[in-house]
């Protein structure tokens, strides 16, 4: 019996050691309360790293601009950065850590899933969470501290579909959905409604899976039909490979889809076959057409990044910080309970990605929608569509 007790003591000691080790790891910064802290929730490593890194770049530019102009309420603004490595379980700890370190607002996560994970934590702690990337359904429903500044598919899809019907004269389409991709499934539902509203007929529907390599069966099935274009709601890797198969079976139609296709990987996978593919997005850097704030942002970004053009995530990251800053200014308080009310009243706010209004349901309504087209293995702006 005796050694049994000893083993238990040992187990207890181990648990204690665990607690102490955990205590060491925190590294809580006790910097003076003279700064207003904004947390960055996103990945710098792992599967979604590219979204996180770009968002952070935009955020840092915004903070530099704010601090150069004298800060907020006489205080400097500081970003607290933590990486969750694209892992859900770690993202929860990171969110908690940012809040513990005194963040009044958290920008992130660029993905819908992790935003949904962080939302109840932020809401419970009374800290504003503004996602600069989440486009899926059911995000702001978590509570009055939760916001996002993205172009929602439900805003963009009807506008884009109207353009397809009126400007391009499409009458018949096929719809391709990636069944294991939440983004794709919900976008398809929106497209179906918009297509019906604009009198475009769906002549065939096919499902694919994220990670599929071979689409010959699906393409063979649609090649039997007559149609004007392909509505593809999946991601870029599958999009590129799908178009390759479409061209190799001799079909001439082009593809249209959402910002899930917005990556050079699209033509790296599909090559020539992706020429003419159309992608809608909330932001596109076009130094020739851009004006005012947007042009300034593009130029500054290019200076810092060796001429590279900013993408949607960096622009939305920039706008997210600016939205928070303006709300803090308007509320004259860095208390989340106060400035969240000012944030809610945001109307026709001019950012680098366009104008943003938070509707009665606190969902963002953004204008314009950029429709891009692949031309010579580059995204070129095809049309800028205003949202009414």
């Amino acid at each position: 019996m005796l050694h049994k007790h000893r083993l238990f003591t040992l187990v207890l000691v181990l648990l204690l050691v665990a607690a102490i080790l955990g205590g060491c790891g925190g590294g809580q910064t006790q910097s003076a309360a003279e700064t207003i802290k904004i947390g960055f929730l996103g990945a710098q490593t792992g599967g979604h790293a590219s979204y996180g890194i770009e968002t952070l770049k935009g955020m840092q530019m915004a903070v530099e601009d704010i601090n150069a102009a004298g800060g907020l309420l006489g205080k400097q603004v500081e970003i607290i950065v933590e990486d969750h490595g694209s892992k859900h379980s770690e993202a929860a700890s990171v969110t908690q850590k940012l809040i513990t370190q005194g963040a009044v607002a958290i920008i992130g996560d660029p993905t819908t899933g992790i935003t949904k994970l962080a939302a109840p934590i932020a809401q419970g702690a009374g800290v504003v969470l503004l996602s600069a990337g989440a486009v899926g359904e059911g995000v702001v429903e978590f509570g009055d501290y939760i916001y996002r500044d993205t172009l929602l598919d439900r805003v963009a899809v009807p506008v884009v579909t109207k353009y397809l019907a009126e400007e391009l004269g499409w009458k018949k389409v096929v719809v391709i959905t990636s069944k294991n991709n939440d983004y794709s499934v919900s976008q398809t539902a929106l497209f179906k409604k918009a297509l019906a509203d604009n009198g475009i007929e769906i002549v065939a529907e096919q499902s694919i899976q994220d990670g599929d390599q071979n689409f010959s069966a699906q393409v063979t099935a649609i090649s039997q039909k007559e149609f004007d274009g392909i509505v593809f709601t999946g991601y870029y890797t599958e999009g590129g490979l799908f178009m390759k198969e479409v061209r190799s079976q001799g079909l001439k139609q082009v593809l249209v889809g959402g910002d899930g296709l917005l990556s050079p990987v699209l033509w790296e996978m599909g090559g020539e076959a992706t020429e003419g593919s159309m992608v809608f997005t909330g932001f596109a850097a076009d130094p020739e057409r851009a004006t005012g704030k947007t042009l300034e942002f593009i130029k500054k970004y290019q200076e810092k990044n060796g001429g590279k053009l900013p993408d949607m995530f960096s622009a939305q990251g920039y706008d997210a910080v600016m939205l928070i800053a303006d709300a803090i200014k308007k509320a004259e308080s860095a208390d989340p309970a106060k400035f969240k009310e000012a944030l809610r009243e945001t109307k026709d706010w001019q950012g680098v990605t366009g104008t943003i209004t938070f509707g009665p349901d606190r969902e963002p309504i953004k204008s314009p929608v950029y429709l891009l087209e692949v031309k010579n293995q580059q995204f070129a702006v095809k049309a800028v569509l205003d949202v009414k």
């Binding site: 083993l7 187990v11 181990l14 648990l15 050691v17 379980s89 700890s93 908690q96 949904k116 702690a125």
Partner: protein, 297 residues
């Protein structure tokens, strides 16, 4: 509640990390019983965690089942799945069983991705937060106690016999099929309960959480701590579970440091941190004032 009181003394971030650690310890002990004690290689442990998590979440959200009952249901569902996986172990051993369980894990993940009730690829959000650090560590203590007792019983010795030499065990009248399947069932039950705790802690579930990477992570907890050693599993989980948080100073090189840590342990302690160590003996020597002798690797 008790956690509210604790929050005055411990920073909420530590509570968050330690609670998650406790859940991992419970899950890892489940695998310890299957792989460490009974010697059945399983690459699908995250699937049991997932089955438990989704079962518990659906029970509380859709059926209004009380939390503790939902945890029990989570364990039972996972145990049923465990029995299902346990049967191939009659014919498959070692790597072959490992691959079969790997397949099982993928099947479960794909089912979660495609079912309507689990929220599909969008994930399941809005699960009420019921799990707190007190409940988790109660579960940890309970699991350690139960598995410790189990290992010391006739049943536990039979499991070890199956691991050491199945044919010899059969000759001694140990029905190895029964023991292997029941070890899978109990180990999965524990994982299922851990899943239930996980679901009501994170409040959001996504099938990608329960893929091969998670299974492998739990297996490394068990192996790094020392296969077959219960204190080893707890230590291994603690070290590897906290490492990503402690290594935050390494910024983007954090996971590289994590890898280095694993490589170093495997070079210097190939049997795992506490593998092959009789802790009770070491402890007794320390208490008696003699110098503890660590057996050579």
């Amino acid at each position: 509640m008790l956690e509210e009181a604790l929050r005055h003394f411990i920073n909420p971030y530590y509570i968050q990390v330690l609670t998650l650690l406790g859940i991992y310890i419970v899950a890892a002990i489940g695998l310890h019983l299957i792989t460490g004690v009974t010697g059945q290689l399983s690459f699908g442990h995250a699937a049991f965690l997932g089955i438990g998590a989704y079962t518990a979440a659906i029970c509380t959200m859709q059926l209004g089942v009380p939390y503790l009952l939902a945890l029990l249901a989570a364990g039972v569902m996972a145990a049923l799945a465990g029995v299902l996986v346990g049967f191939p172990s009659l014919r498959l051993t070692g790597d072959y069983l490992g691959i079969a369980t790997l397949g099982f894990g993928e099947i479960v993940r794909v089912i979660f991705t495609n079912l309507e009730i689990t929220g599909g690829a969008r994930g399941l959000a809005g699960i009420p937060r019921k799990t707190d650090i007190v409940i988790v560590y109660l579960a940890v203590v309970l699991t350690i106690w139960a598995v410790y007792r189990l290992q010391k019983s006739r049943y536990g010795r039979a499991l070890a016999a199956v691991r050491e030499d199945e044919i010899a065990a059969e000759c001694m009248g140990v029905n190895s099929l029964w023991y292997k399947v029941s070890a899978f069932a109990i180990g999965s039950f524990i994982a299922g309960v851990a899943g239930g705790l996980y679901a009501h802690f994170l409040q959001y579930l996504n099938p990608v959480d329960f893929g091969f990477a998670r299974s492998f992570e739990i297996l490394t907890f068990v192996v790094l701590g020392g296969l077959g050693s219960l204190p080893g599993v707890i230590l291994g989980t603690t070290v590897l579970g906290l490492a990503p948080e402690i290594l935050r100073f390494g910024a983007v090189y954090r996971m590289m440091l994590y890898g280095v840590l694993m490589v170093l342990v495997m070079i210097f302690r190939p049997q795992g941190l506490l593998g092959g160590l009789n802790l009770a003996q070491v402890w007794r020597r320390i208490v008696r004032g003699g110098r503890p002798r660590v057996p050579a690797a």
